[in-house]
């Protein structure tokens, strides 16, 4: 039977406009993310000034003074160069934290969905316990064990996100495991691992990709927060969160020290969120149906 799609009560024109708007989401998001990534790559080879070079003769310069595009901080370090290199830290933390979350979370979620019963309960309740810990507390514990640094922050963020990925994976995989093609695969002798990797994962990939982009944005925020608290990236490595912390003291004198790194964080997080939204819409089965 040809069942019609559920009507959401809007006319075609409105829907087309919305579809175009959503495509815009994707491209703006992509542009922002590429800009940030490009900046990070360029900063490996070139920055206007050495971002860690202290220059006591020119502290707290304003925008465009002495060739400093965004001015300098209290130690005379070039702010623009710091923000450029800060993009490295942000992306590095984002990529590795999400990689940890994905590498641990997806197998856990898939295992829970495949096994059901007691094994599922054990795994998912354990992940709930981890989920209940505030990431900051987790980070403090890790810092106590491993010492402060970008690495500890990254691992802490990654661990904190494992339950999120595990839950999303399990939820999506549960539906797929119920489908007949999985039963068919069992009937010709495929085991759980093969089914999970070859049949289930490709079918839940779209859900996971969206989740990953959103977590990426959250990870960048979390790193900034941890660095702001002083338990993330340590000086002299530039980090947007630490730049904010350093700017705190001079907030009255020179608020732009806080504004620029703050904008960098906001801009990047916005970019990843838009990209995630855009990917979600691109993979929306309803839109897919109208395209084909």
């Amino acid at each position: 039977m040809s069942q019609p799609a559920v009507s959401d009560g809007t006319n075609i024109k409105g829907r087309r406009r919305r579809a175009r708007w959503k495509r815009l989401n994707f491209f703006v998001g992509l542009a922002i993310v590429l800009t940030v990534a490009g900046t990070a790559i360029v900063s490996f080879f070139w920055t206007p000034f050495d971002p860690t070079q202290i220059d006591a003769t020119s502290p707290l310069l304003g925008v465009m003074e002495d060739g400093h595009i965004l001015g300098t901080d209290q130690f005379g370090r070039d702010l623009f160069s710091q923000i450029m290199v800060g993009a490295q830290t942000a992306l590095f933390v984002g990529i590795l934290a999400v990689a940890i979350a994905v590498a641990v979370g997806i197998p856990i979620g898939a295992f829970a969905a495949a096994k059901r019963g007691l094994a599922e309960d054990a795994v998912m309740r354990t992940s709930d316990v981890i989920y209940a810990f505030p990431p900051v507390l987790l980070a403090i514990l890790l810092v106590a064990a491993l010492g402060a640094g970008t690495g500890s922050a990254m691992i802490a963020i990654g661990i904190a996100y494992v339950p999120i990925i595990a839950r999303v994976t399990r939820g999506a995989a549960l539906t797929v495991f119920q489908l007949d093609f999985v039963t068919a695969a069992r009937s010709y002798g495929r085991g759980d691992v093969f089914i999970a990797v070859r049949h289930v994962l490709p079918n839940i990939a779209s859900v996971l990709i969206v989740q990953v982009t959103v977590l990426f944005a959250l990870a960048i925020l979390a790193e900034a927060a941890l660095s702001f608290l002083g338990i993330g990236t340590q000086p002299p490595t530039p980090s947007w969160g630490r730049s904010l912390r350093d700017a705190q003291t001079f907030l009255q004198v020179s608020p732009r020290l806080a504004i620029w790194p703050g904008l960098a964080i906001a801009f990047t997080v916005l970019g990843f969120n838009l990209l995630g939204d855009g990917i979600r819409d691109a993979l929306d089965p309803r839109l897919e149906a109208s395209r084909s």
């Binding site: 069942q3 019609p4 799609a5 829907r15 039963t183 068919a184 009937s187 010709y188 002798g189 109208s290």
Partner: protein, 541 residues
């Protein structure tokens, strides 16, 4: 001359450049019962939705639809809502999806009353109870306070009928109202639907792909193909002497058992005296439900309750039963996908009592599933889908060549290998699934409702194909279905299951022509027939 109830002229529904309904015109008098038949994609649902003004976004209707002489097309939603649920209403296919799961039945039936009439809630609720009673629901006061999930499928569909009739509409449109129901329940619901529209002098449009269903309810019929009317006229005239070739094909595709009550079709008795390939002895499968509270023991469900069945080499064994009869559990147990709580299963000499042996069964038995949408991995190319069992079971030889042979055997074009399952029609997808099941060279094919999701003409072709393949690959087949006509067409022997027990078994000819048990007789009596005889026999429970 009085104005007819509904006049449809030049109705055309388009989605962009696609024409879904093409210049459809018909007139309905009040109190008439009309069937609109056609296969999937013929535009029958779209025609109904266009009349109701419920077309989904992106579809445009042009032409004219007049109710009591008043033009409906072009009216905006605000004007149409005064008609919908009042002078016309609709009954949908899937009763569980059409009812709000968190609203009590009585309240839902009362809703159209409250919208269109100035009455109090209490009054509306009383009317709802009366309506429930009139559609044959026992203890309507208690049922009115129940939630949809607390009712059976048949009761839910009756409740939907009650809801559609609530405001005494001039027209009710029922879209495949009984497709999701068991055959005995279908008979009852069709009876209620017919009696109620007759009693209220309400016009009915019944949309279905099932010709015998139309024959038992409607007095005239419209045949749609690719959005256009190919034939229309009084039901029996159209079905007995179809003037259009397509209509004739549809009529010819109706299985013999669904044609008439009086003429019992002959069944060729095959000579099967092979050894059993499957021996099942006293199989029980019990599921434990969740505990309701701490002290009571958890309730048990007996999916299979002492089933003993042998499947003989070379035969097609039909297993027929309604939902909850345990037929799918049986299939899963033979395949080693489920293990019985007690009892012995031996498949091709392999006792299914260890993990190792369960694995060995895969070389012997393969399975075809009901839903060809769900049984093929949407992210895999057809080539990989069919080759999967070859790889998994480590079958030697040139896989690519084998896949090509298999696709040829199920009459699919050779370029199918590089396409994805969604690019094929339902019937073609089921062929892909059959090719996959045949890939590792099984001796036993288990087909669980393999044609239930297909259009009737595609059903016939698929059944013929299965029969041919059975000879070609010298298979034994276990064919499971709720549809007696289909079982009758393909089986050599039949087992009738009810609530996990074998009610009756024997050769297909004897079970269908001389059923011994009352349950089998009831099932047979409930089949809608092409000559419309079943409801005239007064089969309304």
């Amino acid at each position: 001359m009085t104005t007819p109830l509904i006049e449809v002229e030049g109705l055309t529904v388009t989605a962009g450049l696609n024409v879904l309904v093409d210049d459809v015109a018909f007139t309905l008098e009040s109190g008439s019962r009309t069937g609109i038949i056609g296969e999937s994609g013929s535009g029958k649902t779209m025609t109904a939705l266009a009349i109701m003004g419920l077309l989904p976004d992106g579809l445009t209707a042009t032409g004219s639809v007049r109710l009591h002489g008043e033009e409906l097309l072009g009216q905006d939603d605000k004007e149409l809502v005064t008609q919908r649920g009042n002078s016309m209403s609709m009954i949908f296919q899937e009763p569980l999806a059409a009812l709000n799961p968190v609203m009590r039945i009585g309240r839902q039936i009362a809703e159209p009353l409250l919208i269109h009439r100035e009455i109090s809630r209490a009054e509306a609720f009383l009317i709802a109870i009366n309506l429930l009673e009139s559609v044959g629901i026992d203890d309507p006061e208690r049922r009115a306070k129940a939630f949809p999930h607390e009712l059976s499928g048949g009761q839910r569909q009756r409740a939907l009928i009650a809801m559609a009739l609530a405001n005494g509409p001039a027209l009710v449109i029922a879209d495949e109202p009984t497709t999701a129901l068991d055959v005995t329940v279908q008979a009852q619901v069709l009876g209620v639907l017919r009696d109620q529209v007759v009693a209220r002098d309400t016009a009915l449009i019944l949309i279905t792909h099932d010709l015998p269903v139309v024959a038992s309810v409607a007095d005239s019929v419209i045949v749609l193909r690719d959005g256009a009317i190919v034939e229309s006229g009084p039901t029996q005239e159209v079905f007995q002497t179809p003037s259009n070739l397509y209509t004739r094909q549809l009529v010819d595709a109706v299985p013999p058992l669904s044609r008439s009550v009086t003429v019992i079709p002959k069944h060729v008795e095959p000579q099967i005296d092979g050894e059993p390939i499957v021996e099942m002895t006293d199989i029980r499968r019990t599921y434990r439900l969740r505990k309701r509270n701490l002290t009571d023991p958890a309730p048990l469900i007996h999916a299979l309750d002492g089933v003993t069945i042998d499947v003989l080499r070379g035969e097609t064994l039909g297993i027929v039963g309604e939902s909850g009869s345990g037929k799918t559990t049986l299939a899963r147990i033979i395949m080693g996908l489920d293990t019985p709580t007690s009892g012995v299963v031996v498949v091709d000499g392999i006792p299914l009592d260890s993990k190792q042996n369960l694995r060995r069964v895969r070389d012997v038995a393969q399975m075809v599933f009901q839903d060809p949408m769900g049984s093929l991995d949407p992210r895999m190319l057809v080539e990989d889908v069919v080759a999967e069992p070859l790889r998994s079971l480590r079958v030697g030889g040139d896989h690519r060549k084998r896949v090509a042979e298999l696709l040829d055997a199920v009459s699919l074009p050779s370029d199918a290998v590089h396409r994805y399952p969604h690019e094929f029609s339902g019937g073609q997808r089921q062929r892909i699934a059959i090719a996959r099941a045949l890939a590792p060279g099984p001796r036993l094919l288990i087909a669980d409702e393999p044609v239930s999701a297909l259009d009737m003409s595609v059903q016939t072709v698929t059944l013929d194909l299965l029969d041919e393949l059975k000879q070609e690959f010298s298979l034994t087949m276990v064919f499971i279905s709720h549809d007696l006509s289909v079982i009758h067409e393909i089986s050599d022997r039949v087992v009738v299951l009810e609530k996990g027990r074998v009610v009756e078994s024997g050769s297909a000819g004897s079970v269908f022509s001389q059923p011994k048990e009352q349950y089998t007789k009831d099932l047979l009596a409930a089949i809608p027939r092409l000559d419309g005889s079943f409801l005239d026999k007064g089969f309304v429970a």
